[in-house]
C-alpha cells in the first residue's frame, strides 16, 4: 500500500488552495480539541507531582469562608499519619490598584519555619531564607510574580486589608522558585494574628498538612475529619489537588463544559473533513474511471481516498498541536486559577490523542465519499464530464 503514497501525496496537493484551507480549518479545530483535552488531562488524569501528593488542606466543613478554632491544628498535628501542619491563611486585601488584574495574586499567611518542610519544592537561597525567618514583617515572592510586579529583594509593599481590619506593611526578603508554580506571596501569619482583636486571634480558616506517606493519605484524610465528627465545628480535609479542583468547580460544571466543547469541535472536524473529501471526489470521477481502467480495484480506490483524508488530518494535527501548545503557554501566563493551570502543557498522551482523534474523525467522515468513489464503474467514470 505504501508504494501508492506518492500518488496520495500528489492528490493531496492537486488543489493546494483547498488543501491549505482544509488543513487550517482542521488545525484550528484540533487545536481547540487539544487544549480542552490538555486541561481535562491536567485536572482529572495526570499524576499528582510527588511533593503535592503528600499535602492536604483542611477547612471548616461548611465553607472556605468560615473559621475554626486554632487548637484544631494541634489536634490535627497529633493525628496518626500526619507529619506536620501550619496555617494557610488567605489574607485577601488589595495591592495598589485593584482594577488591574495583575495586582490580584494569591497571598497566604503561613508559618515560615514549616513552609519549607511542607513545601520542599520551594527553592529559596539560604541567606534569603534566614532573613525571611528572622523578619516578622518579611515576605517571599515567586520569581514570575516578582517579575510581573517588578519587585526586588528589599522592596516594601502594602496590602490594604478587607477580610482583616488591618493593612500589611511587608518587606520582600526573598524571591523563590517553584516548578509547580510560583505565583504566590508568603508572609508570617503571626504578623496578622498579633494585630487582630481577641475574638479573631485564635481562629483559622485553612491549614496545610503534610502526610507521612502517599499510601496513608486517604486514611489520614478521613481520620482527621473523623475526630471532629461530633464537634460543633466540623472539618473537611482533602488533598491539595482535590481542593484546587473544588475551587474551580465554583465556576460551574467544569467537566461538562470541557466535554461539550470537545463534542462540538469533534463534530466540526467531521463536517470539514467529510465535506472536503466529498468535494474532491466529485471533481475526480473521470480520473477514478481511468484508474479503474488501469486495473485499480475498489479497495485500492477506497484506500487512496482514505489515505488522502489521513494525510490532511495528520497535517492538521501537526499544526493544531503546535497551536494548542502555544495556547497552553498563553494560559500558563494568565491568572493562577490553580496549580494544574499554572503548569498546563501538552503531555505525550494528549499529543497522541490529538493525532488519534484527527485521524479517526477524518477517516470516519470520509468513509462515505471514499466508498462512493470506489463504486464508480469504468463506464460512468469515463463518461463523466469534468
Amino acid at each position: 500500500m505504501l508504494r501508492f503514497f506518492p500518488l496520495v501525496w500528489k492528490n493531496t496537493l492537486r488543489n493546494p488552495r483547498r488543501t491549505v484551507l482544509t488543513v487550517s480549518s482542521l488545525a484550528l479545530s484540533l487545536c481547540l480539541l487539544g487544549l480542552m483535552m490538555a486541561i481535562y488531562y491536567a485536572f482529572y488524569v495526570s499524576e499528582t507531582p510527588p511533593a503535592q501528593a503528600l499535602r492536604l488542606l483542611s477547612r471548616n466543613r461548611v465553607s472556605l469562608t468560615m473559621s475554626f478554632p486554632s487548637f484544631y491544628m494541634d489536634r490535627i498535628r497529633k493525628t496518626p499519619g500526619v507529619k506536620d501542619a501550619m496555617p494557610w491563611q488567605w489574607f485577601g486585601g488589595t495591592y495598589k490598584d485593584a482594577r488591574d488584574p495583575k495586582n490580584f495574586f494569591p497571598r497566604f499567611g503561613v508559618d515560615p519555619k514549616k513552609l519549607f518542610v511542607i513545601y520542599p519544592e520551594i527553592k529559596l537561597p539560604e541567606d534569603q531564607k534566614a532573613t525571611f525567618l528572622a523578619d516578622r514583617l518579611g515576605c517571599i515572592v515567586g520569581r514570575p510574580l516578582a517579575q510581573t510586579l517588578g519587585l526586588h529583594v528589599g522592596d516594601r509593599l502594602t496590602l490594604m486589608g478587607d477580610i482583616y481590619p488591618m493593612n500589611l506593611e511587608l518587606t520582600v526578603r526573598g524571591i523563590y522558585d517553584n516548578e509547580l508554580g510560583a505565583e504566590t506571596m508568603f508572609f508570617h501569619w503571626d504578623y496578622v494574628r498579633e494585630a487582630l482583636p481577641a475574638a479573631r486571634k485564635d481562629v483559622l480558616s485553612t491549614i496545610s498538612i503534610l502526610a507521612e506517606s502517599p499510601e496513608t493519605v486517604a486514611r489520614t484524610t478521613s481520620a482527621i475529619d473523623e475526630q471532629f465528627r461530633n464537634a460543633t465545628i466540623q472539618m473537611r480535609t482533602e488533598t491539595e489537588r482535590a481542593f484546587g479542583l473544588a475551587f474551580l468547580g465554583m465556576l460551574g460544571n467544569v467537566k461538562l463544559i470541557l466535554l461539550s466543547i470537545c463534542a462540538a469541535v469533534t463534530f466540526t472536524i467531521m463536517l470539514v473533513a467529510g465535506n472536503t473529501m466529498a468535494m474532491s471526489v466529485r471533481e475526480r470521477v473521470r480520473e477514478i474511471g481511468i484508474l479503474k481502467t488501469l486495473g485499480f480495484r475498489r479497495g485500492q480506490i477506497l484506500s487512496l481516498i482514505l489515505g488522502e483524508a489521513a494525510v490532511l488530518s495528520i497535517l492538521g494535527s501537526c499544526v493544531g498541536g503546535l497551536l494548542a501548545s502555544g495556547l497552553c503557554t498563553l494560559i500558563r501566563g494568565g491568572p493562577a486559577l490553580n496549580n494544574q493551570i499554572k503548569t498546563l502543557s501538552l503531555q505525550a498522551p494528549v499529543v497522541a490523542a490529538i493525532f488519534a482523534a484527527g485521524l479517526g474523525i477524518a477517516l470516519t467522515s470520509s468513509l462515505f465519499p471514499a466508498w462512493r468513489a470506489s463504486q464508480v464503474t469504468i463506464l460512468e467514470g469515463l463518461r463523466a464530464n469534468e
Binding site: 481547540l32 469562608t65 468560615m66 481590619p165 465556576l251 463534530f267 466529498a278
Partner: protein
C-alpha cells in the same frame, strides 16, 4: 443589472450535501457563541434586577462583601438618626441590621453540597423587601428557629422543602415557607429572624451589614456621602445596585473561555466556508462566463457570490440558534466570588443575543465568501467559457 437571488438559492439547493455540511459547521460555532452570551445575559439580568435603587448598603470599611463585613449594633443605632432616611408605615426609620452567613446544603447535582446564603433580618428588613412575595407556606416567626427560602433554593435543594428541617448553626430550623423575589438574587437566599440566626452563630452584638432606604435619589447621594465621611462609623456606603453591579464579574472565566472557543471555531468555519465557495466558483466557471456574456458586470458577479456565501452562513446561523434555543430559561447555579455562595440564574437567549449570533454568522460568511467571489469576478469571459 443584478443577478436574481433565486439563482443563488437554487445553487445552494443543488449542492445540498455541501451546503448542509458547511452550514452545520457555522451552526455549531454560532451555538457555542449563543450559549456563552445567554449565560452572560442571564447573569447580567440577575445582578441588574437585584437591589433597590433607593437602598444603601453599609459595610465595614475595606469590606467588599457582606460575608466578610462586620458591623455593631451601636453603629446601627447611630445610623438610624441620619437625615434623609425613608420611614416605614409605623414611621420607624427604614434601616435594617442584617447578619449574613453561608451554610452548606446538599444539591441535586452535588451531594457534597453547595454554599447558600443565610440572612438574618428584622421586620423592618422584611418590609424593605416589598418585591419578595410569599409563594407557599408562611413567613418565619420572630423568636423561632424558622426560615423562609427563595424559590431557587427550594428548587435546587431537595432538603429545603416547606415543612422540612435543616441543621444550620447549632439548631434544627424548620422551613416555614418559600418566597418569590422575581428575578433578583434573593431567590438564592434563605431568611430567618435576625436575633435567632445571630445567636445561633454566637454573634450577639455584631452583624454583617446595614441596609438603609433613602427618601429619594437626592437623599441617597447625600446619605452615601454622609455615611462614608463619618470617621466614627468607619464604614463604606454604596448604592445596593452598585454592589450587585460589581458582582457581574462572576462567570467571567466562563465568558472568556466561551469567547475564545467561538472565535477559534469561527476562523475554522470561515476557512471551511471559503473552501465550499471556491469549489462552487470552480464548478460554475462556465456559468460565470455565460452570465458575463449575457451582460452581467463583474460587480454583480462579485455581489452574487458574496450573497450566496452570506445566505449559506445565515442558514448556518439560523440552525445554530435553533439548536440552542431549548436552553433558553434553563436554570443553573454559579458560585459568586463575592458572596462565596451559589446564585441561581437562567440562561437567556434574548433578541439581542440572537442578533449577535446571526451577525457573527454573517461575518463568517462574508470572510469566507470574499476571496472566492473576487476570484469569480476576475474570470475572463473567453477562458471561462472554454474551461471544463
Amino acid at each position: 443589472m443584478k443577478i436574481p437571488l433565486a439563482y443563488n438559492l437554487r445553487n445552494l439547493l443543488v449542492r445540498r450535501g455541501t451546503t448542509v455540511m458547511t452550514a452545520l459547521g457555522i451552526a455549531l460555532t454560532v451555538a457555542v457563541l449563543v450559549t456563552t452570551m445567554a449565560l452572560a445575559e442571564g447573569l447580567n439580568q440577575l445582578f441588574s434586577s437585584s437591589g433597590n435603587p433607593r437602598h444603601i448598603l453599609v459595610m465595614r470599611k475595606g469590606s467588599t462583601a457582606e460575608l466578610t463585613s462586620l458591623v455593631t449594633r451601636a453603629m446601627f443605632q447611630d445610623i438610624k438618626f441620619k437625615n434623609g432616611i425613608a420611614r416605614s408605615k409605623g414611621s420607624e426609620p427604614m434601616v435594617s441590621l442584617e447578619f449574613v452567613t453561608v451554610v452548606n446544603l446538599p444539591a441535586v447535582d452535588n451531594p457534597e453540597g453547595n454554599n447558600v446564603t443565610l440572612r438574618g433580618i428584622s421586620p423592618t428588613g422584611l418590609e424593605m423587601r416589598e418585591g419578595m412575595k410569599l409563594e407557599s407556606g408562611r413567613w418565619f416567626q420572630q423568636g423561632r428557629t424558622e426560615i423562609v427560602v427563595g424559590k431557587s433554593v427550594a428548587q435546587r435543594y431537595p432538603g429545603a422543602k416547606v415543612g422540612a428541617k435543616l441543621r444550620l448553626g447549632r439548631s434544627m430550623w424548620e422551613v416555614a415557607g418559600v418566597v418569590d423575589a422575581g428575578t433578583s438574587s434573593s431567590n438564592s437566599e434563605m431568611f430567618g429572624d435576625l436575633n435567632q440566626v445571630a445567636s445561633d452563630y454566637d454573634r450577639g452584638e455584631t452583624a454583617s451589614a446595614i441596609l438603609v432606604r433613602a427618601q429619594d435619589e437626592v437623599a441617597l447621594a447625600a446619605l452615601i456621602n454622609d455615611l462614608g465621611a463619618d470617621r466614627k462609623l468607619n464604614v463604606v456606603a454604596q448604592a445596593e445596585t452598585d454592589y450587585f453591579a460589581s458582582q457581574t464579574s462572576t462567570g467571567n472565566v466562563l465568558r472568556y473561555l466561551g469567547l475564545l472557543v467561538s472565535v477559534i471555531m469561527a476562523v475554522g468555519s470561515a476557512f471551511a466556508a471559503m473552501n465550499t465557495m471556491y469549489a462552487a466558483v470552480a464548478r460554475r466557471t462556465k456559468e460565470i462566463g455565460t452570465l458575463r456574456v449575457l451582460g452581467f458586470s463583474r460587480r454583480s458577479i462579485l455581489s452574487s457570490f458574496l450573497l450566496e456565501s452570506l445566505f449559506l452562513a445565515l442558514l448556518g446561523g439560523l440552525m445554530g440558534v435553533a439548536l440552542v434555543l431549548p436552553i433558553n430559561g434553563f436554570t443553573t447555579g454559579i458560585t459568586s466570588m463575592t458572596t462565596f455562595s451559589e446564585v441561581a440564574f437562567s440562561l437567556r437567549i434574548t433578541p439581542k443575543v440572537i442578533a449577535t449570533g446571526m451577525a457573527f454568522a454573517a461575518l463568517m460568511g462574508a470572510l469566507g465568501g470574499l476571496f472566492p467571489a473576487g476570484n469569480a469576478a476576475r474570470k475572463q469571459i473567453l477562458s471561462a467559457l472554454r474551461e471544463g
